[in-house]
Symmetry: C2
Subunit: 126 residues, 2 copies
């Protein structure tokens, strides 16, 4: 009764380059299937399948207008992706990494002296 079981999650949905192109195309405007598929070097059916995958992940919605089905972008689920990658930002952004180390040092951790820190970061004892 609620949302249909999301067979595909956002990570899977964007893994395919064709599907990323689809999102890019639909970002501009709502489009019917035949117009969409005319932009790709594969059959309409194949494109339609990709659209269904995106829909399953909540990234597009369809709406029927006469005999055509128009798809449009729903970007909100990409927020999950943004949040996911945000966590890892500290590992490539030096400023964030430094801040994190300071916070951890002040948090009660021993080894608060950063003088021995190397690029590989604080390595817990194995």
């Amino acid at each position: 009764m609620t949302a249909a079981a999301p067979k595909y999650d956002v990570f899977q949905a964007i893994a395919d380059p064709t599907r990323r192109q689809l999102l890019h195309l639909l970002a501009e405007q709502e489009l019917p299937v035949n117009v969409i598929s005319s932009n790709f070097p594969m059959s309409r059916t194949a494109v339609s399948k990709h659209l269904h995958v995106l829909e399953s992940a909540g990234l597009v919605t369809e709406r029927k207008i006469g005999r055509e089905t128009r798809y449009s972008l729903q970007a909100a689920p990409l927020r999950e992706l943004k949040d996911w990658v945000a966590y890892y930002e500290q590992f490539w952004d030096n400023k964030l990494a430094l801040l994190k180390h300071l916070v951890e040092a002040a948090d009660g951790g021993t080894n608060a002296d950063p003088s021995q820190s190397s690029m590989s970061g604080p390595l817990k004892p194995l």
Copy 2:
């Protein structure tokens, strides 16, 4: 001679939940294969394959220490992901979307009157 052909890109690499867990685990510290695989309900070989996929995408690096191979996170390639998703942020963030429309309207586009705009946004003529 340069970097090995990246058979897997970042989007594919993070599509698998096991591989995302691997990244999370390696974020903390560098770890050898057997310790890594002990955290997963599958064979060491399977985990090793996932690690190779991540390595192919540049997300981890391996280094041999004695008879063990230690893996560590390389977060930088995730920047591509961040940039990709940043583009779509305007489509779920109302403030950004409004700003974009204003910029486009001032840019020389006709139809600068937003009075007829609906939630579906400016639909170019099909």
